[in-house]
Symmetry: C2
Subunit: 189 residues, 2 copies
């Protein structure tokens, strides 16, 4: 499989994004040939964590969300981390950006607490997905169908539960990003 | 006002409960004369944070949730902290405990990300409340009416948004705990 020529965006919060849910999907799509752009809320470096609370790494932000457009990308990755996901959903620019990927029928991979941004963007209704267990109720109340599987793929929407699911998640997002647009992805936007 | 003879429970997560949202309400009800019991998920000490991520204090757990019953208390306080609130909602014992306070018409004070436990316990429908802004959507999707005020009191349910609201929150929970049972509190249980 090859993602040569594809532009993939990955979101990161200023603090609190879960380290391996950021690094591993990023590496997987880069290894497949994609150009990956790290999109943050602020310029400079973002600080990741492990286990939701423990400081992990520091990563440069390539582009701030204010200057980013879904039209420039072929796919989107949204990592978890409880605080990181909470900070991402708090940004109206992030929510508009996420919504646009759905409206444009582009594949999106979301893991752990990441689906809170989907709930906030109102793109969950009628979709089948998984998440960290605590997000289940919020997904169901938003009209989504929650299932307990390591990786769920619903017409361009790829979701997983925790860092343990990363091998399956990384493999599936590369596959979906290679397939390209999924017109049915737009049905919940 | 006096809370002499009243037993008040306050929840704390093993890690990630927001420091001042734990300490200030606890001190306010104790100062008014209440006996306060710190209820945790595990024996030993719990670690609080400030700003969702930075380590703050360590506090002994008085009783674990497995051995706690709402019948033993006259009121409940649920602090926030993004990770702490997420860990509390993950516990079925915590959710049953929270639900029982509503079923028994007892006053409950909840701040910041704390209302996630109310969403999880299905006691939000038809109630008016506030929270940290990121929890708004989850409350509304659960059937609650969200308002942006420093302190909201809906027949025994007291809610506030952030640590800045603590003076109003602490004053109001003491008042509600003194009033005692609010039969209308049970209407959403």
């Amino acid at each position: 499989m090859s993602l040569e020529g594809r532009n993939i965006a990955i979101l990161i919060a200023p603090r609190g994004t879960e380290e391996p849910e950021f690094t591993e999907p990023k590496e997987a799509v880069a290894k497949a040939g994609a150009t990956v752009t790290v999109i943050g809320l602020e310029d400079g470096e973002a600080e990741t964590v492990t286990g939701d609370l423990d400081p992990a790494g520091r990563y440069p932000v390539d582009r701030t969300i204010g200057g980013a457009s879904a039209a420039d990308f072929d796919g989107l990755i949204i990592p978890g981390g409880c605080v990181g996901a909470d900070k991402l959903r708090a940004s109206g620019d992030v929510i508009a950006f996420v919504h646009d990927f759905f409206a444009q029928g582009k594949p999106v991979g979301v893991i752990c607490h990441g689906p809170w941004t989907l709930v906030e963007a109102d793109v969950v209704k009628g979709r089948t997905l998984t998440s960290y267990p605590t997000v289940r109720k919020d997904i169901e109340n938003a009209g989504g169908r929650w299932v307990d599987e390591e990786c769920v793929c619903d017409q361009g929407l790829v979701t997983s539960r925790t860092p343990k699911d990363l091998p399956a998640f990384c493999s599936k997002i590369v596959e979906e990003f290679e397939e390209g647009r999924h017109p049915a992805q737009a049905r919940s936007a």
